[in-house]
């Protein structure tokens, strides 16, 4: 016998994401899902961003997604903010932060004391783009060292995100990358993408990114 059915395979995952979102909204927490390749500079960007946000009176926290190790969480410790390390596989597994993982990590955060929560996703331009976590916005970090072609090779990631942080721009003089072509490729995949070039090393562009976050937070409240 045939059983007719139309059911979203990610129904359970999305239901948990909606529960996360309701929790965030009830507490007035703005949530950014940061995604990128490994080594693009997500943690370094957060190291420079969070102190500037604190100067603006914004209390931050980070859910640090990694396959294994707590290296990135330990790097963030000097900031003195709540950090929850969410490991997907202690022995080198896979591959994205899921809504259930966020739900588990939230047990360790006092949302009353947080205005802005960063979810630093696992370094991977493929799988993390697939999953809604309950975030307010998705941001992709793309470093200049990765080449002009990445938006074309990973279109779902660049379709899903509202903002692209073009990182490591301090390396521009030493690379052959054509930044105009890179930006053109981003717009080919997502004509509405906002792009902020920045460098965590030099600090260039970080204040623009902070202003962007503040304006997004204001829109929510």
């Amino acid at each position: 016998m045939e059983i007719p059915v139309i059911r979203d395979i990610l129904e359970e995952s999305n239901a948990r994401a909606r529960e996360n979102r309701e929790l965030f909204d009830r507490h007035g927490v703005f949530v950014v899902n940061m995604m990128s390749s490994p080594g693009s500079g997500k943690t370094s960007i957060l190291m420079k961003t969070i102190p500037l946000l604190r100067q603006q009176g914004v209390s931050c926290a980070v859910i640090e997604g990694d396959i294994t190790t707590s290296i990135d969480s330990q790097r963030l410790q000097p900031l003195g903010i709540p950090v929850v390390q969410a490991n997907t596989e202690p022995f080198g597994g896979d591959c994205h932060v899921g809504s259930h993982l966020v739900q588990g990590a939230l047990k360790y955060l006092d949302l009353h004391a947080i205005k802005l929560l960063f979810i630093e996703n696992i370094g991977n331009l493929v799988c993390p783009a697939e999953f809604y976590l309950g975030e307010d916005c998705k941001v992709v970090v793309l470093s200049l060292t990765e080449g002009e072609d990445k938006p074309l090779k990973y279109p779902l990631m660049f379709r899903e995100c509202r903002l692209c942080l073009l990182s490591k721009i301090d390396l521009s003089p030493y690379l052959d990358i054509k930044i105009g072509e890179l930006q053109s490729n981003i717009y080919s995949v997502n004509g509405k993408m906002e792009i902020i070039p920045l460098s965590a090393k030099s600090g260039d562009g970080i204040s623009i990114w902070v202003d962007w976050l503040l304006s997004q937070m204001n829109r929510k409240t």
Binding site: V5, I9, L10, V84, C127
Partner: protein, 126 residues
Amino acid sequence: MRLTVWGNWVMHEMYLTECIIDSVKKSLPKKISPDAVTEVQVQVGELDAVIPETLIFLFDAIKGSHGLPKAKLTVDQVPVRCRCQSCGNEFRVDSPLFICPSCQSGSVELLSGRGMILTRIIADEE
């Protein structure tokens, strides 16, 4: 020290395969046992980072231990289609260029080609 470590054990493609099996079980009428299921059909958007052969391989690998030993999975890919928000043109996207072929606008909305849906189950009569 405010560092908290919280672990979990998940793998992307396996997670999706388990989601398919969970969806099948939730969709079965009470009188149908999961081990009576012979066919499962899903639609997967072309924009999704999912290779049909990988899903089928993993489904076959775990279906027995999840109570669906006779089930065969088929995966239909759904083409990416967009509508231009400037001129209203609807078009197929078969390369990673989301640009209207009619007016060259990059302001396009996705109509199909994203998401994973369980569309059909066939089971033996009890």
